[in-house]
C-alpha cells in the first residue's frame, strides 16, 4: 500500500502542470461573464455555463489522454522498466497510476467547476440541459470521463503495441458487439426495458472491472514487454467480457423461454365472438420481460406469438381467422403493422413494414386493413400482397377511426369538434361525408347504430352511417351496451334497464350494489359487474329475456372487453379464469402467483 501511494504521489508530481491548466480554465471561466455582449443580468448564468463547459471538456479530454498514456506510452517509450527495476509490485504500479489519474481528473473537474458551483450550477443545469439537478450532471460527466479513461487505456495499449494481435481484438470486439446487439434486441422485443437496462449496467460495470483488473493483469504479466502487455490485456479483457456475455446470453435465453404456465397475466384481448384471446403478461421471475400467447378458449391451446405490449392495439377480424397488431411504444407512437393467421398451427407473424398508429381496422374476412398513419392518412391495404388499394387524407380531425362496411367500402369516423362520418369507396376512390355524430358513442354489433350517452341528457340512438337521430331514451346511465339483437342494456346505480331497439323500456332489474359495467355474454344474457366498497367484485349473470339472475359469482371480474359465453375473468388473486356462463364452470388457466 505504501508503495502504491508513493507511485501515486510520483505520478501526481510529474503531472502537476495539469492542475495549473485547470486553474487557468477556471480563471478563463470567470473572465467570460465580462466579455463584450454578455448582459449584466446574465453574468451569473454565463459564469456557470462557461465553467460547466470548460470543466466537462477538460475532464473528458484529460480522461481520454491519461487513459491512452497510463501504461501504453511508458511501454512504448521503454520507461516502465524504471518501476520494474525497483522493489514495487505490479499492483502498486497499476493502482498507483490509477489513483493518480483519478485524482487528476476529479480535482481538475472540481477546480474548473468551482465557479459554476459558486454561481449556482443547479439552475443553469436545469435551464440548459435536460439532466435535471447538478448532482446527476456531475455523475454523468464523471462517468463519461471514466468510460473514456478506460477505453483510452485499452485502445492506447492495443495501438501502441504495433502487434498483429490487434486483428484478434478487432474480431473479438466485433463478435462482442454482435452478441450484445442480439441479446439486447431479443430482450427489447419482449419490452424488457428495465431488464435490458439492468443487464446493460451490469455489462458496463463488468467491462469497467474487467479493464481495471485486466490492467493489473497486463502489468503483472506483460511488465516491460509491449507486445506481451497487449496480448495479456487483450486475453484478459475478451475472456472476461466473453464469459459475461455467455452468462448474460444464457440468462437471456432462459428469460425468453417463457411458457404459457410461466406467464403472469396482465392483459387479455377477446376475439369478437369470444373463441380466442390474446393473453399477455410478464414472464414469471423474468422481471419486466413480456410474452404473449394466442389462447383458444375452446380447447385451452396456447401458442406463443411475438410479445405485445399494452399499446399494441390488437384486433381480430370478424371471422376470427386473422388478427393483427401494431408494434409501438408510448414514446414512439408510430410502429409497424403485423398480421397473423389464427387458424394455423403456429400463427406466423408477418411484418408488413407498414407504418401504423394504433388506429386501424381489419375487414371482416381479414383480407384487408385500413391503417391510419400520421398526417391523417388512411390507406387500405390488401394483406395478401401488402399492396395499397387506395388512400385518403382527411383534412381535419384529431382522432380517426376507420371501419370496413364491406371490403370495398370504408366508413371513417373523424373525431374533432363532434364526429364527422365519411364513406370511402375503395374501388372508385371517392370520399364523401355522410353525416355527423356526437363526440363519444358506442356502436352496435353490426355497426348500423350508435348510442351516445356520455355527458348527454338522454341516451341518443343514431344511425351510424348518416348520423340521423333514431330515438332518445330519457335516461342518463353510467354505461350502455347493445345486445346482439339490437336491444339496449343501460345501467345506472343499482338499476339495470333493458330497452327495445326503438327505445321502449322492456324490463328493469334492481341489483344490490352499484353497477360498474356490463358485458354482453350473448344469447340474451348480460353480465353485470358490481364492486362493493372494498373493491371486491361481484358478477351477476342475468337472463334479460326472463329478467332473472341466472347466477352470481363473488370475487369474479370479467375483462372489460370480454364477450361471448366464455368470458375471461380475474379473481381476487388476479388469476386468469375462463368462466363458462352457460355451465357456470370456472377454469383457472393462469395463476398470478
Amino acid at each position: 500500500m505504501k508503495n502504491t501511494l508513493v507511485i501515486a504521489r510520483r505520478e501526481l508530481t510529474e503531472k502537476r502542470f495539469v492542475f495549473l491548466t485547470a486553474i487557468a480554465f477556471a480563471v478563463l471561466a470567470m473572465i467570460v461573464p465580462f466579455m463584450p455582449g454578455v448582459h449584466a443580468s446574465e453574468r451569473r448564468n454565463a459564469l456557470a455555463m462557461a465553467s460547466l463547459i470548460f470543466s466537462t471538456g477538460f475532464t473528458v479530454g484529460l480522461a481520454a489522454i491519461l487513459g491512452a498514456n497510463i501504461i501504453g506510452r511508458e511501454l512504448s517509450d521503454g520507461r516502465l522498466s524504471f518501476y520494474f527495476s525497483k522493489p514495487v509490485s505490479a499492483a502498486s504500479i497499476w493502482f498507483g497510476k490509477l489513483i493518480a489519474a483519478t485524482l487528476l481528473i476529479a480535482v481538475s473537474f472540481a477546480i474548473i467547476a468551482l465557479p459554476a458551483s459558486i454561481a449556482g450550477i443547479g439552475g443553469v443545469v436545469r435551464t440548459w440541459t435536460n439532466l435535471g439537478e447538478s448532482l446527476p450532471t456531475i455523475r454523468i460527466i464523471l462517468a463519461a470521463a471514466l468510460v473514456l479513461f478506460l477505453l483510452g487505456h485499452v485502445i492506447g495499449t492495443f495501438a501502441r503495441s504495433r502487434s498483429a494481435w490487434i486483428v484478434v481484438d478487432f474480431v473479438a470486439a466485433t463478435l462482442c458487439g454482435i452478441a450484445i446487439w442480439l441479446i439486447m434486441r431479443s430482450l427489447l422485443q419482449g419490452y424488457a426495458f428495465g431488464l435490458t437496462e439492468r443487464l446493460g449496467r451490469f455489462l458496463a460495470i463488468e467491462a469497467a472491472i474487467a479493464i481495471i483488473a485486466g490492467g493489473l493483469w497486463q502489468v503483472a504479466k506483460g511488465r516491460t514487454d509491449r507486445k506481451r502487455s497487449h496480448i495479456e490485456l487483450s486475453r484478459f479483457l475478451w475472456i472476461a467480457l466473453g464469459s459475461a456475455l455467455v452468462i448474460i446470453a444464457g440468462y437471456a435465453v432462459w428469460v425468453e423461454s417463457v411458457s404459457f404456465a410461466d406467464l403472469v397475466p396482465e392483459s387479455a384481448d377477446h376475439s369478437p365472438n369470444g373463441s380466442w384471446a390474446i393473453i399477455g403478461g410478464r414472464g414469471r421471475h423474468r422481471e419486466d420481460y413480456r410474452a404473449s400467447f394466442l389462447y383458444d378458449l375452446r380447447d385451452n391451446r396456447a401458442v406463443r406469438i411475438p410479445a405485445l405490449n399494452p399499446y399494441a392495439a390488437i384486433q381480430f377480424s370478424a371471422d376470427e381467422r386473422t388478427f393483427s397488431w401494431v408494434t409501438r411504444t408510448p414514446n414512439a407512437p408510430v410502429g409497424e403493422f403485423y398480421v397473423a393467421k389464427v387458424d394455423s398451427k403456429t400463427p406466423h407473424a408477418v411484418a408488413t413494414r407498414i407504418p401504423a398508429t394504433g388506429n386501424y381496422a381489419l375487414s371482416d374476412d381479414g383480407s384487408r386493413a385500413a391503417i391510419v398513419s400520421s398526417g391523417r392518412l388512411v390507406t387500405i391495404y390488401d394483406l395478401a400482397t401488402l399492396s395499397s388499394l387506395g388512400s385518403v387524407r382527411l383534412a381535419e380531425g384529431q382522432y380517426i377511426v376507420p371501419l370496413f362496411i364491406t371490403n370495398d367500402l370504408m366508413r371513417i369516423y373523424v373525431h374533432g369538434n363532434g364526429t364527422k362520418i365519411f364513406e370511402y369507396d375503395v374501388v372508385k376512390k371517392t370520399l364523401r361525408q355522410t353525416g355527423v355524430l356526437p363526440d363519444a358513442f358506442r356502436l352496435n354489433h353490426d355497426r348500423t347504430r350508435a348510442a351516445a350517452y356520455w355527458k348527454r341528457p338522454a341516451i341518443e340512438i343514431y344511425d351510424a352511417r348518416t348520423g340521423a337521430l333514431l330515438t332518445k331514451i330519457d335516461r342518463r346511465p353510467t354505461t350502455v351496451r347493445f345486445l346482439d339483437d339490437g336491444r339496449i342494456a343501460a345501467a345506472k346505480e343499482n338499476a339495470l334497464e333493458i330497452f327495445s331497439p326503438d327505445g321502449a323500456l322492456l324490463r328493469s332489474i334492481d341489483l344490490p350494489k352499484e353497477i360498474k359495467y356490463l358485458v354482453n355474454a350473448g344469447g340474451g344474457r348480460v353480465v353485470v359487474v358490481m364492486l362493493n366498497q372494498g373493491r371486491r367484485p361481484t358478477s351477476v349473470l342475468i337472463d334479460v329475456d326472463r329478467g332473472v339472475v341466472v347466477r352470481t359469482e363473488e370475487g369474479l371480474l370479467p375483462e372489460y372487453a370480454a364477450r361471448g359465453s366464455q368470458l375471461l375473468c380475474q379473481n381476487i388473486a388476479k388469476d386468469l379464469i375462463v368462466w363458462d356462463t352457460v355451465t357456470g364452470e370456472k377454469r383457472v388457466i393462469l395463476k398470478r402467483s
Binding site: 510520483r10 521503454g78 520507461r79 522498466s81 520494474f84 514495487v88 511488465r223 514487454d225
Partner: protein
C-alpha cells in the same frame, strides 16, 4: 542459502520467429564480477530483462539468490541495484525527487552516499533528469543503484555514453569497490579493456547463444595467437583447436582456444610465434566474422 547469486537455466527468448536468446545457462557465484559480452543484437539486453524479472522467458528460469525472479521480483529487487542500458527515469523529475522516490521504495537507503557521489560527479540535485547528458543520467542512476546497498549489482552496458574519466571512475572506483565489499556484480559491456582486470568470470553471447563461459584467467590461459611464417599444415593434425585461421603476410595467423606448451612443442615448427591475447582480442576472435563458435 544458494551459493550462487544468479542462476540462469536454459533461458530462451523469442520475438515472433526471431530467436533472441537460445537455451542460455550459466551461474554467477556470490561476490564475483561477471561480465557478459556480446555484439549488438547478440541477445544480452533480452537476457538482462529476464534476469531482472521484467520479461518471462519462453523457456527456462532465472533464479537470484535461489529465488525465482519472475515470481519473486518485488522482494528480490530490494537486493538488486540496476543500471539499465536506457536511462529510463522520468525526464520531468529532478535528481532530488528521484532520490526521494527511491528512498521511499527501498528498505535500505544511504542518502549520504547519493549526495557524495553526485557531488563527485558534479551533478546538481535540482537538475531535471531529462536535461542531463547521457553520461550524467547513467551516473545518477548508478548513484541511486548503489545507495540501497545492493547484494547484486546489474549493470547493462554502464559505460555507454560515458567519457573517459567517468568510465575510469566507474570501473576503478565503483565496481572495484563493490567487488571488494563482496557485492556480486553482473555487467554487460562493450568496454572490454575496463573489465579485464576486474572480471572474475566472462561469458560471450553470439546470435543468442552462449559461445563461451568461464573464469577470465583460465580463458586467457587457453587462448593464444600463433603466427606462422608459412602455411601451418601441421596445425590441422595437432591437438590444438582453432577459433580462427587467417592469412597473415606470407604465412598465417591462428587463434588457438586450448593452448598448452606441450602441444605446441609437438608442432615442431621453428617459424612460429606465440603471443598472449587480451580479452578484447579473444572477444573479437570468438564473436567476430568468420569465427568458429
Amino acid at each position: 542459502m544458494s551459493e550462487q547469486a544468479m542462476e540462469v537455466s536454459n533461458v530462451t527468448v523469442r520475438y515472433g520467429r526471431l530467436l533472441a536468446v537460445d537455451r542460455v545457462t550459466f551461474a554467477v557465484p556470490r561476490g564475483s564480477v561477471y561480465a557478459l559480452l556480446g555484439r549488438n543484437g547478440a541477445g544480452k539486453s533480452s537476457l538482462v530483462r529476464c534476469i531482472l524479472g521484467q520479461r518471462e522467458p519462453q523457456m527456462g528460469r532465472v533464479h537470484l539468490f535461489g529465488a525465482d525472479v519472475w515470481n519473486q521480483r518485488t522482494a528480490l529487487m530490494q537486493r538488486v541495484g540496476v543500471l539499465s542500458e536506457e536511462a529510463d527515469a522520468p525526464p520531468e523529475m529532478t535528481v532530488d525527487q528521484l532520490a526521494r522516490f527511491c528512498s521511499d521504495i527501498y528498505a535500505r537507503w544511504e542518502q549520504k552516499e547519493v549526495d557524495d557521489r553526485l557531488r563527485r560527479f558534479e551533478i546538481a540535485l535540482d537538475s531535471k533528469f531529462g536535461s542531463l547528458s547521457k553520461g550524467q543520467k547513467k551516473q545518477v542512476l548508478l548513484a541511486l543503484a548503489l545507495a540501497m546497498s545492493p547484494d547484486l549489482l546489474v549493470l547493462d552496458d554502464p559505460t555507454l555514453g560515458l567519457d573517459v574519466v567517468a568510465r575510469k571512475s566507474l570501473f576503478e572506483e565503483v565496481i572495484a569497490e563493490m567487488a571488494d565489499r563482496g557485492i556480486t556484480v553482473f555487467l554487460t559491456t562493450h568496454d572490454l579493456s575496463g573489465i579485464e582486470t576486474l572480471a572474475d568470470r566472462v561469458a560471450i553471447m553470439k546470435n543468442g547463444t552462449l559461445v563461451l563461459e568461464e573464469d577470465l584467467d583460465a580463458l586467457k590461459a587457453r587462448f593464444r595467437r600463433i603466427r606462422f611464417a608459412a602455411q601451418p599444415v601441421a596445425l590441422e593434425q595437432s591437438a590444438l583447436r582453432t577459433a580462427l585461421v587467417r592469412s597473415w603476410g606470407a604465412g598465417a595467423e591462428a587463434i588457438v582456444t586450448n593452448y598448452d606448451d606441450v602441444a605446441f612443442e609437438r608442432l615442431r615448427t621453428t617459424n612460429a610465434e606465440v603471443s598472449a591475447m587480451s580479452l578484447e582480442e579473444i572477444f573479437i576472435a570468438v564473436s567476430g566474422e568468420g569465427a568458429r563458435s
